[in-house]
Amino acid sequence: MQFASTAKPAIAILYDSDFGRDIDSVLALALVHGFASKRQARVSALTINYPCLEAAELCDIVEGFYRKTVTGPGAMYMSAPAIGVADAHGKAAAVPPLVKSLLAKQGQDGKPQWQSNVRHWNDTAVPANLIRNDLAGQNDENAVLVTTGAATNLSQLLALHDTAPLIAAKVKMLVIADNGFGADAAAAKRVLAEWPTPIVLCDRKSAEGLSFPGQCIDKDFSYVPVHPIAEAYRAYKTMPYDAPALALAAMLYAVRPGDGYFATKSGTVSLGSDGHASFSESAGGKHTYLAAVPAKHDEIVEKFVAMVSAEPVVIRRFRRQQQKEEPSKEAPPAKSS
């Protein structure tokens, strides 16, 4: 008979993204689900940093695709996780074509292909509250926040009362995939100045030479008749094409930082005049810059394909909740800079 392990659970990934604005942001979510199916990560909180209800609908559909694989007596104790979306303040963002296309997709019976739990704004969560509440339930230094898109939600997280100590305790690092991080300049500056744990920057140069191969879409996702990730890929651009992999690279580092896929440099990240984050190298700098190791490119792309297309594993869930980690007798590992 096997007993449930009391070891520290897999790393929690909190993903704050511009989900659906490009295919990279969608693939990155599939990537972390691939790692989750191998119990190497947990998808813990999902927030969207532009005010688009439809993007949340699609995000919930993708989540639903993976959630359906949970069975067992404990499955009924799992409620649909909330999706956080940046507040529209009366002016919602335009719905990206990818999102529009997938939500309009019909099944053979003429009904919508997928049903989302998200239909109204109050079906979504306030992003800062969602992230804060999620972090409160994590073991110390066992969460990584990955962001692609504007820094709005993260800035609002920092504005919550007494949240900085919580972030400092729980978040191992913030990994920024710089794809519009500076679109909300004030928010980006605040995050760079006040974020209390290591910041890792992954920009276009970091991911140069990396892409997600479109040729795998038709063969590697065919384990279900209609796969939301494959459909999203087809909807984003006319096939065939290879997708950019900036968010994928950032997510891969977030889950597997020690696998040697990336070289790192210390320095300082700041917000450039063009709205992009820029990095200046300096010994002892408190930020980190990533660069994919050229010799590992093929291996990285293989990993992307394997994890993004990984078939969800049926997880038999018993009603066991996370426990506090037993204090280790060994000295804690030093924080990465």
């Binding site: 009924m76 104790y77 409620s79 909330a82 956080g84 109204h120 704004w121 109050n122 079906d123 979504t124 969560a125 306030v126 800062a128 509250n129 969602l130 804060r132 509440n133 409160a136 339930g137 994590q138 073991n139 919550l160 009362h161 909740q321 996370q322 426990q323 506090k324």
Partner: protein, 447 residues
């Protein structure tokens, strides 16, 4: 020229060691009072807490905006639907496990008004001062009692009541400090004595004499009442009569309940003075809370109807099963039906209290209008132990500040503490934040 002085708001009827506070009378308003100098009627605040969550299928309507057809559990409130707001998606993150494992019942009750996750322990308990006590410390300076803590079941303060959580967590709502919960008064007689028996001021002789002759407390103050009546106008005389009659009615209810108890075999040991009948007990406790509000004895009360995790059976409505086991129904419809019946029964009792509050005139409004009465639970779905979308309704207009009669659904993960921050403000105790609040609740105020 009008020279008559207004009656002091703090006037008591006194006699033989007993003291009875008076309700709000027109004579307490200065004759030539302008709008600015008019005596402002106090706003009262109460929490009515029911345990083990609610059958949310029958609590949440499928619409927002003006309250129309009420779901089954709320049907007893049909005639009050212009008097309350039904709030959706309020969350208490502090009630969740957050690495502390099982014990949702202990956590949800202890965190409900304190806004913090309690320490998982049976010995060195720790939560935080609850927000009602922050308010009580401020507005309680103006009343005889800072607050009243009332309950109907089990006030054990020690032992393990939920997976390692002390019974102090499941059996108390109000916390005076982070280590000091305020146990509720369960016995109507004790509550009556506290409110009207002048407590320590009542001499042993007076107490003995009352017991000996079974005299009404009103008899003791009758000569003072007669003297006061001479100075009152006809409206105030009627109000005074009604008020004293309601005090006497409560006395008689308690006496009747105590007599009935001697004839009922509940099949368990039962403290003397507590009615065997649930509805009667509920009515007695809320009647006394009404009088306490009416006479401005206190402005803050908490009412723990039954304690978290209770396995009380409801034989009075044909349900011999324990409440808590029923809520773990695993989606079996017959069990869910019984939970809905219990939930509805509780709301029926609550409706009786609202009726009473609404019937008491205060100037051009009524006691309910001048109150904020929250009815709710620390869990939504008791089967899954969910701490989001907590069932919450708030009755009363906070002294004319709230717009009522609406279903308001907030975004998910909106802190329950935002409601508390709003209520503190309406009680005249503004704070920047409480617990995990991130602002006040929008949509309650008159626009």
């Amino acid at each position: 020229m009008i020279t008559r002085k207004a009656l002091d708001r703090r006037t008591f009827l006194r006699g033989a060691g007993a003291a009875v506070a008076l309700p709000f009378l027109d004579s307490m308003v200065p004759a030539m009072a302008t709008a600015a100098t008019k005596v402002e009627k106090p706003v009262r605040m109460a929490f009515v807490y029911v345990p083990n969550g609610i059958d949310m299928r029958n609590w949440n309507p499928d619409y927002e905006g003006k309250l129309e057809t009420l779901p089954r559990i709320l049907k007893p409130l049909e005639k009050f639907k212009d008097d309350f707001n039904l709030l959706g998606n309020l969350t208490h993150n502090a009630g969740r496990a957050l690495l502390d494992g099982a014990g949702d019942h202990g956590r949800c009750c202890a965190s409900y008004l304190s806004g913090v996750q309690p320490r998982k322990t049976m010995v060195d308990i720790k939560a935080s001062q609850s927000f009602d006590q922050i308010v009580a410390n401020k507005v309680g300076e103006k009343t005889r009692f800072k607050s009243l803590e009332v309950g109907m079941e089990d006030s054990r303060q020690a032992g393990d009541c939920d997976s390692g959580y002390s019974c102090a967590y499941t059996n108390n709502l109000a916390w005076r400090s982070e280590t000091q919960p305020l146990p509720p008064i369960l016995n109507p007689r004790a509550l009556f004595d506290r409110l009207f028996g002048a407590d320590a001021a009542l001499s042993p002789e007076a107490r003995k004499r009352r017991a000996l002759y079974r005299r009404s407390i009103l008899d003791l103050v009758s000569s003072d009442a007669k003297r006061l009546a001479l100075d009152l106008g006809p409206t105030d005389q009627r109000k005074l009569d009604e008020y004293l009659s309601s005090v006497r009615e409560i006395e008689l209810q308690i006496e009747r309940a105590e007599k009935d108890n001697s004839r009922i075999d509940p099949g368990m040991e039962k403290p003397y003075g507590i009615p065997a009948d649930f509805a009667e007990h509920f009515r007695l406790m809320t009647s006394m809370m009404t009088v306490a509000f009416q006479a401005d004895l206190t402005r803050v009360t908490t009412f723990l109807v039954t304690h978290e995790g209770t396995s009380r059976a409801y034989r009075e409505i044909g349900i011999p099963d324990g409440h808590h086991p029923l809520t773990h129904h695993r989606n079996q419809l017959p069990l869910m039906e019984k939970v809905a019946q219990i939930n509805t029964y509780h709301v029926q009792q609550f409706a009786g209290w609202l009726e009473k509050l609404k019937s008491i005139q205060e100037g051009d409004s009524n006691l309910l209008d001048n109150s904020m009465i929250v009815y709710g639970a620390g869990l939504s779905d008791g089967n899954r132990h969910l701490h989001e979308d907590l069932p919450t309704l708030i009755a009363g207009r906070a002294g004319g500040k709230f717009q009522t009669g609406r279903r308001i659904v907030y975004r998910r993960e909106t802190p329950m503490c935002n409601l508390f921050v709003t209520m503190m403000d309406r009680m005249g105790v503004p704070v920047e934040h409480f617990g995990d609040s991130n602002g006040a609740l929008e949509g309650l105020d008159l626009t």
